[in-house]
């Protein structure tokens, strides 16, 4: 968690709920950082609940449009199945995430 420049700067929300870094036609108004953080937390909780329904027990952390899933059991075999992975990505997109990734190694359990 240290040395993370992304964590402390005013964050933008994932594209699906607004917020583009930089200028141009796609620029949207930024909500206060605290509000965005709460929104991302809700998105993560919703995704974790959806994944539990799918049979994947895990914790979900949101980083802007990226959802990191931490499976309860390291190396959840259900993720070996490409169809399941696609389903998880689709569930993530439905909840506003552009990317879903599974944590590896220490701390994933």
């Amino acid at each position: 968690m240290r040395n993370d420049p992304d964590r402390d700067r005013p964050a933008t929300a994932p594209a699906a709920i607004g917020g583009v870094t930089g200028g141009g036609a796609g620029h949207r108004a930024m909500a206060p950082a605290g509000e965005l953080s709460a929104t991302r937390g809700r998105m993560a909780d919703l995704l974790a609940a959806a994944l539990a329904h799918l049979g994947v027990s895990c914790r979900v952390e949101a980083r802007e449009g990226l959802a990191i899933i931490y499976p309860a059991s390291s190396g959840d075999p259900r993720l070996d199945d490409q169809a399941v992975r696609r389903q998880i990505v689709a569930l993530g997109r439905e909840r506003g995430f552009t990317h879903v990734a599974v944590a590896l190694g220490a701390g994933t359990g």
């Binding site: 583009v20 930089g22 796609g26 070996d80 992975r85 879903v100 590896l104 190694g105």
Partner: protein, 287 residues
């Protein structure tokens, strides 16, 4: 084609050989050329065609070195140039010194290319070379490429795109010409692994390069990106490779390799490799 090139779009359907003849004619019409050369698939093909069409006296391939240019790519560029007897010049660019670039806005590439072409165009003028060209292809034109504006502003031409060469066309003709780069994965600059708005620093670029090198060392081939999300590295690789690398003990090997580069957390993307993945994250679409 191999799995290495599975991210390429399909050919436009026109005959690549006919396009090649058109390219040769285009080059002959200019008479001499300076090529922005990276050792990648596109610029190597273009340099090869320029060399064949115009001769070594009328061609100069210029490599712009910077922390965002992977060392492996530089080595490839030099090796291929030596193999082809392609005249090259290496210059150091310093795009990181430009705070507008280092801030990593969505048009970061514009500032990088402004620096690059700002160095290369005077070289062409000093050497009497008629035109400065780059390896932009027809597929690139459909992507988010703010660097293209810098090229236009400096009068740099993109004959592969103009003639309609897709990446697939270029690979096909590169293979026919015996170029070692024909099946090489696309290798955009290392800064493209850092989300927009998150600063580009030499340290982050070194960390990304080290992580990707370590993963290649495990035997990962084909499209591979380490996306830098601060303390967390997100690995993108072809979706079909997921099952192998998520299994034990490979999963732990992936994690250890990336952590050895300096990341505290490692994650494997469930959707696999996506070209321009961070454009999606930022909500950026093709211009």
């Amino acid at each position: 084609m191999t799995a290495i090139v599975n991210s390429d779009r399909a050919s436009s359907g026109a005959d690549p050989l006919a396009k090649e003849a058109e390219l040769a004619q285009w080059l002959r019409g200019r008479g001499s050329a300076l090529i922005g050369y990276s050792g990648g698939v596109d610029s190597t093909y273009l340099a090869c065609m320029a060399l064949r069409t115009l001769g070594s006296d009328q061609v100069l391939a210029v490599i712009g070195r910077s922390p965002s240019y992977p060392m492996e790519q530089w080595t490839t560029a030099r090796d291929v140039a030596a193999e082809l007897a392609l005249p090259i010049l290496e210059i150091d660019t310093a795009e990181l010194d430009d705070l507008r670039y280092a801030a990593n806005p969505i048009n970061r590439c514009y500032f990088c290319k402004t620096t690059l072409w700002g160095r290369l165009v005077p070289v062409a003028q000093a050497r009497g070379l008629a035109v400065v060209v780059d390896g932009t292809n027809a597929d690139d034109v459909r992507d988010h490429r703010p660097g293209a504006l810098a090229a236009r502003q400096h009068g740099v031409e993109s004959p592969l795109a103009t003639i309609g060469f897709t990446k697939s066309d270029i690979r096909e003709r590169s293979r026919a010409l015996g170029l070692p780069t024909w099946a090489q994965p696309s290798s955009p600059c290392l800064a493209s692994r850092i989300p927009y708005g998150s600063p580009v620093t030499a340290e982050r670029l070194r960390r990304i390069e080290a992580a990707e090198r370590a993963l290649r060392g495990l035997g990962i081939t084909g499209d591979l990106r380490v996306r830098d999300h601060g303390d967390l590295a997100r690995i993108e690789m072809p979706s079909l490779a997921f099952g192998h690398w998520y299994a034990t003990p490979q999963r732990d090997q992936l994690s250890a390799a990336v952590r050895s580069a300096g990341y505290e957390q490692v994650a494997l993307d469930l959707a696999g490799f996506r070209s321009g993945s961070l454009n999606v994250l930022a909500g950026v679409h093709a211009e």
